[in-house]
């Protein structure tokens, strides 16, 4: 049956209930029960969003797409910061695998500080496990300091560190005091914490806020000051967004954390608005910045040309300045024609095709925008490490039950800064903006944006992925590197939406153009028609060979 995918057309029509049944059929009862709550058929229940189980443990033995807390903390959030020396405290592996593998781009200029091409590790040995690794950690920090004299050194704990009880925070504190001119701080992001990368994001958010954000009050000049949260500059997305913001005259003080520097984080509390791209990985910082410094946040999305225009308008609307509003409109008016030209060329070749997206904590949602623009329907989607609010919207937050795994992730209590808290807008102004349609602190999640009877599946695993593809035969499947080739073996093009394989940027206007062309290439590549040899297609031998 799999062999058919190459030739047969998409099967979006299939009854989703049937599909769900098929997906669960092979599981042991216990697993089936659990998974059935994470596999949702999208149907409006008297206009409330249906409920899905998310952010819960993956069943051991089930081949998951998920990674660990360390990956979420060191790999995702801190990885893109170029002028912090990020030292992994642990055996060599974790540092090695998170070395340059995410395609976060950064621009340090010809001679700026840039440690992103380096991998730093304490390479713990058994003696360190037995006698403790604090000494080695301290020595490693000292060696890094002596070699590079960086502004900051960050320490990341791997699994054994917590178990053997190395007090990395005290070591960091001690070294910071010793150096005087170098901020040293640590992250207890052992891989076993939480149920996915997500816990790592949270831990990263906490420490960023505790140790860097707001450390530098040197005034940042310029008008329309914002921070961009949850944008990691994969394949240059951040560069394209910066280009557009600059063109609009919007000042981005800090991006968390694509193409970022220590100084950007330290001064980010001076912004007047936080624009949140990836809600999942960074909303904690957004909330804390609001509580402590009075900076409101809105959800934006620069994936998709329309979405980009919409997000720019939201920001302009927030500042409410006529000049800015006009400039934004001018920029949109200038950029869109190029986008539309390419779309007009490509769309006839993509229209009506189907896509599946299973990735991240926001991309599975954001990229549906681009597929919509291409006239492609997303017939199934889900996140790898998101929470219910990313599916259903933040209104579910109050009644999320906190399970054993989440309980262990620190929630830091933040209060308004006695001296620096400054509401950016009066209540009156805010109310007016809300009335005018601008939503603060709001994210409605993926499900409401998906069509009826599509499938929403949390923590999709390899077995289910293949079944889905075999049954529904999408024209393209989006996930991560681990999933890429098992899907393609089935004859369905697979696009990575973590690292983009080799492409990008896909954000903003130029990114939309890139993505249109890339999807065109993938769904129309001749190669999918080569999978069967002539003798496999017609095993019967014709009577005799036709000599000339």
């Amino acid at each position: 049956m799999a062999t058919a995918t190459a030739t047969k057309k998409s099967n979006a029509a299939l009854d989703p209930a049937e599909v769900k049944k098929e997906l669960l059929a092979k599981y042991p009862a216990k697993v089936a029960r659990k998974r059935s709550k994470q596999i949702l058929i999208n149907e409006a229940l008297e206009n409330t969003t249906p409920e899905i189980h998310a952010n819960i443990r993956t069943t051991p033995g089930i081949i998951t797409m998920r990674g660990c807390t360390y990956a979420g903390c060191k790999g995702v959030v801190l990885g893109p910061s170029r002028d912090i020396v990020n030292i992994t405290h642990g055996p060599i592996g974790c540092g090695f695998y998170s070395w340059l593998t995410r395609r976060n781009q950064t621009d340090a200029g010809p001679d700026g500080e840039n440690y992103m091409n380096y991998c730093f590790s304490t390479d713990m040995q058994d003696s360190d496990i037995i006698f403790g690794g604090e000494k080695k950690l301290a020595a490693a920090i000292q060696e890094a300091y002596d070699l590079f004299h960086p502004k900051a050194i960050a320490i990341f704990a791997t699994c054994p560190v917590g178990l053997i009880g190395d007090d990395i925070h005290t070591v960091a504190k001690r070294m910071k005091e010793k150096f005087g001119d170098c901020n040293v701080f640590a992250f207890s992001c052992e891989g076993y914490k939480g149920v996915s990368q997500s816990a790592g994001h949270h831990i990263a958010n906490n420490q960023l806020f505790r140790h860097i954000i707001g450390q530098d009050d040197t005034p940042k000049k310029g008008e329309y000051k914002i921070n961009l949260l949850g944008e990691y500059n994969i394949g240059g997305d951040g560069f394209e967004i910066d280009r557009i913001l600059k063109k609009c005259g919007i000042n981005c003080l800090a991006t968390f954390s694509g193409n970022s520097t220590y100084e950007q984080f330290a001064t980010s509390h001076q912004a007047d608005l936080n624009a949140v791209m990836c809600h999942r990985s960074i909303n904690y910082v957004a909330d804390m910045l609001e509580t402590k410094f009075g900076i409101p946040w809105i959800k934006v999305n620069f994936i998709g040309a329309e979405a980009t225009a919409k997000s720019l308008r939201k920001i302009a609307q927030y500042f409410g300045d006529k000049a800015l509003i006009e400039r934004v409109e001018a920029v949109i008016a200038e950029e869109m024609p190029k986008v539309e030209k390419v779309l007009a060329e490509v769309k006839p070749r993509t229209e009506g095709k189907s896509a599946m997206l299973f990735v991240g904590g926001s991309r599975a949602h954001h990229y549906q925008e681009l597929f919509n623009e291409l006239g492609m329907k997303t017939i199934a989607a889900g996140y790898e490490f998101a929470h219910r609010d990313d599916y259903e919207g933040r209104q579910v937050l109050p009644n999320l039950e906190v399970d054993a795994d989440s309980r262990n992730i620190e929630e830091i209590h933040v209060e308004a800064d006695p001296t620096r808290f400054k509401p950016r807008k009066s209540d009156k102004e805010l109310k007016a903006l809300v009335k005018a349609g601008l939503a603060f602190k709001e994210y409605e999640g993926m499900i409401p944006d998906m069509e009826k009877n599509t499938l929403v599946i949390d923590d999709l695993n390899q077995y289910e992925a293949e079944k889905l593809v075999e049954l529904m035969k999408p024209d393209i499947f989006c996930a991560g590197i681990k999933e890429k080739y098992s899907i393609q073996k089935l004859g369905v093009p697979m696009k990575q939406l973590h690292s983009y394989d080799s492409g990008g940027p896909y954000a903003g206007f130029a990114g939309a153009i890139n993505f249109y062309r890339e999807i065109d290439r993938l769904v129309n590549s001749k190669v999918w028609s080569y999978m069967k040899a002539p003798w496999q297609e017609n095993p019967q031998l014709s009577a005799t060979f036709a000599w000339e």
Partner: protein, 457 residues
């Protein structure tokens, strides 16, 4: 510069590893396990390890890599991972139905002291292992050795499946070590030509260089079967290719099954391949077929034809001990000058062996075990080379220092070919030569003034 903070001046480092020339044990165990037919590697630790290893192997092979994990949570890390593993075994057999589960531990499960044997026994007692299915395990603490050690441990665990019957099977065990699927295929081709009956383990050929046919086979045709592994205790002997990768398995069979063994270098290059072929000839008491002699002669012919481009060229190498030892010997035999040699894998024997191989060279080589690429780069800054050989991470050094560069080793993340074309044996030697000559000659063509741009080379 990409590595703009690397100073020329070399300072002693005791604690900080920068740009490692190794990774951790479990990925080696995972790669080895993929060389067993119908095997699902299982990582007993938290999710991240498995995700990282699968990603790295996938990027290297551009092929699907299936492996499962015990998905440790904080609870498991405190109370032990037995429950997770038992649950995993049950789920794996019901959902994926492999012939074999090959479990390897991680720093996490090793630190908390999970006992694989005991857990496996419990799984058996609870009937979680269906009849005819195999579960094996290897201890691969990430804080000991390197990915090479993990490969060796899992390979040894394969040998430990041996069930000697007392009746010889007339075969030779050949333990190829960490080489590419194409290399294992080439070893089999050569042994086939020579007419030696063998059990090759592990064998990833047909597993990690698969076709695109519209079908996804989680467990492809390739791999050493459990039946073969059981039988390897009845073999007439074991040839272990590579002290680091393969010797443990061979010696275990020697001690425990009275299967004598011989540890050879990996058959990269002329001399090492000669020793391998010579060993097969003696063991099997056969005459080497003309075809093999012909391939050998072609390699020698190419060396003689191109010698002027190789002669006294300085080379920096980084990789794994067994591969580097053979490659260094090969380079010396080409009248090239291996100058800086680094492996991240610990072991003084490595430095000793390299010094032996290079003792007749008119200079002292820089060699370090448990070194890193930061040091290699510094050595190069202090004593520039004409050629750099190593994995994909070398490209940052090659570009900064503008050095001709041949990708060889693990991982290769940015080029194709290693899955399909062997570098072992004589044909492999010709391919290595082709690649080395290619980058050296490209450089000549790039840098030649117009007065001396050459048509014939």
């Amino acid at each position: 510069m990409l590595l703009r903070h690397t100073p020329k001046e070399i300072t002693e480092r005791s604690a900080l590893t920068i740009n490692p020339a190794k990774t951790c044990q479990p990925i080696g165990a995972m790669y080895a396990a993929l060389g067993i037919h119908g095997c699902l590697p299982h990582s007993h630790g938290s999710q991240g390890c498995c995700a990282y290893h699968r990603s790295a192997l996938t990027r290297h092979y551009k092929e699907p890599i299936s492996a499962s994990t015990s998905s440790f949570t904080e609870g498991a890390s405190v109370f032990g991972g037995q429950a997770n593993m038992l649950q995993a075994i049950n789920n794996i057999f019901s959902v994926y139905d492999p012939e074999v589960i090959a479990i390897h531990t991680t720093c996490l499960s090793e630190t908390i002291g999970d006992d694989l044997k005991q857990i496996k026994k419990k799984a058996q007692d609870e009937g979680k292992i269906p009849a005819g299915k195999t579960v094996l395990g290897a201890n691969t603490p990430s804080y000991v050795g390197s990915h090479v050690t993990g490969f060796a441990s899992m390979t040894k665990s394969m040998a430990m499946l041996a069930e000697p019957t007392g009746k010889k099977n007339g075969k030779v065990n050949v333990v190829p070590g960490w080489v590419e699927p194409a290399d294992m295929e080439e070893l089999k081709r050569m042994m086939g030509l020579i007419g030696v009956k063998y059990i090759l383990f592990p064998d990833t050929s047909g597993v990690l260089n698969g076709p695109l046919s519209g079908e996804y086979k989680m467990f492809p045709e390739g791999g050493t079967t459990v039946a073969e592994l059981k039988s390897c205790g009845d073999s007439s002997g074991t040839l272990a290719l590579g002290e680091w990768c393969s010797a443990d398995a061979a010696r275990w069979l020697d001690t425990n099954c009275k299967v004598p063994c011989k540890v050879l270098d990996m058959p990269f290059g002329l001399a090492a391949t000669d020793r391998f072929i010579e060993a097969l000839r003696t063991i099997a008491g056969v005459t080497i077929p003309e075809e093999i002699s012909h391939e050998r002669g072609q390699l020698v012919d190419m060396i003689s034809d191109m010698h002027q481009y190789l002669y006294h060229k300085k080379v920096a190498l980084v990789g794994d001990p067994d591969q580097l030892i053979a490659m260094t010997e090969f380079l010396v035999s080409l009248d090239m000058w291996p100058t800086h040699i680094v492996t991240g894998t610990p072991g003084n024997r490595f430095e000793k062996r390299i010094k032996e191989i290079t003792k007749d060279l008119p200079y002292e080589v820089n060699v370090k075990a448990a070194g890193d690429m930061f040091l290699l780069h510094q050595w190069i800054k202090n004593d520039p080379v004409d050629l750099l050989i190593g994995n994909t991470y070398c490209k940052y050094i090659a570009r900064d220092e503008d050095i001709p560069y041949v990708r060889w080793g693990f991982p290769i993340l940015d080029r194709q070919g290693h899955q399909y074309f062997p570098t072992v044996g004589y044909k492999g030697g010709i391919r290595l030569l082709e690649k080395i000559l290619g980058v050296l000659m490209d450089r000549l063509d790039r840098d030649a003034p117009e007065t001396s741009f050459e048509l014939v080379m």
